[in-house]
């Protein structure tokens, strides 16, 4: 059920005098607002489409839905990477029906129009069209207006006038850098994807993805599992660690343009480069050597930041990149005001041992994904939230925790269990929904 909304007075209510930050619940449930989000946010922001390692060879492609667009992300035979709308220019047929593969060309199954891997129309399967019918290229497979990459992460933008990707990413580049700098080799997307759905507004998952406040109440059963493992290996446990230390170190940060991150310490171990006893002695040397290399290359402070800090990054409006138990890319595709599709992938460096690769993946599935001991409980929380806001006569959601009078909440810094990084997200969201920010080059 989505409520009908006509001209809401205010969707984000910021009271900097009394340190209150509130979101009108219509923002999570209104079909009208969802339509506006498509126009004002998803048609203006850079949206993640895929990683360079997913299309390593010429002709490789993946088909993927991004911001409502059914796209073919492809490395053309010329070597150039492109993103195209998966729709024949003749009658609209979906031309690529596989999820991934290697193509020489795409032939439309309906009337046999053929496009090459650069999207160029090369055959109309007929002779009696006028000769110059495609002189302006309008019958080529339609390219997405903009496609840019940052360190192998490709994003599309449906707005031709958008600012560059790197300008859009703003402070988020610091986190992409600290992730990519974990290896001199390549970071690659590993085989296997998690693809699932949640019956909740997509912004609930964005909030949840870097929410330090929920860790203990929602994830105590995961922490107890971790506790058992650590103690069995002779280490201190996880539950006390979290209860005593979680709020005392780390922080939430707004990174500009709505992006934000949580930096925290949780004793899950990190393949780069923080070993825990349950992983055994085999990989300990490798992890310690990696850490030494990081310190030599970047200095101790940055090596510690790369190795020890759990980093949950939300790139506005719908991309999560977590560099915590491993590396996870999670795209959040809204399908209505109250539902979303999630796709997630694990990344790993090509220069790690088979043993460490196995631990990386094991660490991922123990907590994350639709069968993990953590994510599954998060999903339940978000669906409970959605159910609650669909009926209760309460106008606002609270996001006031740790509000500290920051001048610009888009770059607010707060405690790790505060909500400042979410306020950064919502401030940007509000500005874009009011048309005050379009992310266009001036």
């Amino acid at each position: 059920m989505s409520s009908v909304l006509t001209s809401p007075r205010k969707l984000v209510d910021i009271d900097s005098v009394h340190h209150r930050f509130r979101i009108n619940r219509e923002a999570y449930r209104s079909a009208e607002i969802f339509e506006k989000e498509k126009q004002l946010i998803f048609s203006k922001c850079w949206l993640y489409v895929g990683h360079t390692s997913e299309i390593p060879k010429k002709g490789d492609f993946v088909a993927r839905t991004v911001g409502g667009g059914d796209l073919i992300f492809m490395r053309g035979r010329s070597g150039e990477v492109g993103a195209f709308f998966n729709s024949c220019t003749h009658r609209g047929t979906r031309v690529c029906r596989e999820k991934r593969g290697t193509a020489k060309s795409f032939a439309c199954p309906y009337h046999g129009w053929v496009y090459n891997t650069e999207g160029k129309l090369v055959s109309m399967n007929a002779t009696n069209f006028v000769a110059d019918i495609n002189a302006d290229g309008a019958l080529d497979l339609r390219k997405v207006s903009r496609l840019e990459q940052y360190r192998g992460f490709y994003f599309v933008n449906y707005n031709p006038a958008a600012i560059s990707l790197v300008d859009f990413l703003a402070g988020a580049t610091e986190f992409l850098d600290s992730m990519c700098d974990q290896t001199e080799a390549e970071l690659v997307v590993l085989p296997g994807e998690h693809s699932y759905s949640i019956n909740a507004n997509f912004k609930y998952l964005c909030e949840n993805s870097y929410d330090g406040y929920h860790l203990l109440p929602v994830h105590v059963s995961y922490l107890e599992f971790l506790d058992d493992r650590l103690k069995a290996a002779g280490d201190q446990g996880a539950v006390n660690f979290i209860a005593n230390l979680f709020t005392k170190q780390g922080r939430g940060r707004g990174l500009g343009n709505g992006h934000g991150a949580l930096e925290s310490w949780v004793p899950t171990g990190r393949p780069v480069a923080s070993w825990i006893p349950p992983w055994g002695p085999e990989v300990k040397k490798e992890i310690e050597a990696k850490r030494t290399w990081l310190a030599q290359r970047f200095g101790k402070e940055r090596a510690d930041f790369i190795s020890d800090v759990q980093k949950n990054l939300v790139i506005f409006p719908n991309l999560v990149i977590n560099d915590n138990v491993g590396i996870i890319i999670r795209t959040i595709e809204p399908t209505s005001a109250s539902s979303m599709r999630i796709n997630s992938w694990a990344l790993g460096p090509t220069d790690e041992s088979a043993a460490l690769r196995a631990i990386r993946l094991d660490n991922f599935v123990s907590f994350l994904g639709p069968s993990g001991f953590g994510s599954a409980d998060d999903i339940e929380m978000l669906e409970l939230c959605q159910r609650g806001i669909e009926h209760a006569p309460v106008e606002w959601n609270e996001l006031s925790k740790g509000m500290n009078g920051a001048e610009d909440s888009r770059v607010e810094v707060c405690g790790p269990d505060d909500e400042g990084h979410m306020r950064a997200y919502w401030t940007q969201w509000d500005r874009m929904m009011r048309g005050a920010e379009t992310l266009e080059a001036r």
Binding site: E193, S195, Y222, R229
Partner: protein, 166 residues
Amino acid sequence: MINPQPTRDQVEEFLYHEAELIDDWHLPEWAELYTDDARYDVTPLDCDDPINSSSKDSLFLLADDKERLTSRAKRLMKKTAHAEYPHSKVRHIIGNVRLGPNADGEIKVKANFVVYRTKDDNTSQYMGEAHYVLVPRDSGGFAIKSKRCILDLNSLADQGRLTIIL
């Protein structure tokens, strides 16, 4: 001791017993059916070769060793396993059971399954094939050395998540 090839009846009886423990939420007892070196895996849904793929180099939906499947069972009995509180109604239908050759005391079994899960007012289905490696128990019956579930799904778009035991 050389074990004779078990009959399909004996194997089916064992698989029904496992299914009943899961459906009745007797999960700690379910975990005890597994050997100490056991695996319980659910392969990726976008995998070209799910029978031979490995969770050591691919992202599985679920890849439990004995420690984790025991922890999974223990966790799912807690009120703080929010995804399954209150417990869903679960129903296994198992069929098309076929036995492979008995080699080195291990019995390979392939079975089809449909598992229904009802949470609140919503019912979802998980269907696929399960590849088992069973070993005879000294006390009689079998223990599970490996259970690999290959779902006939391309995503969990309809099911949302997989928080019950298949």
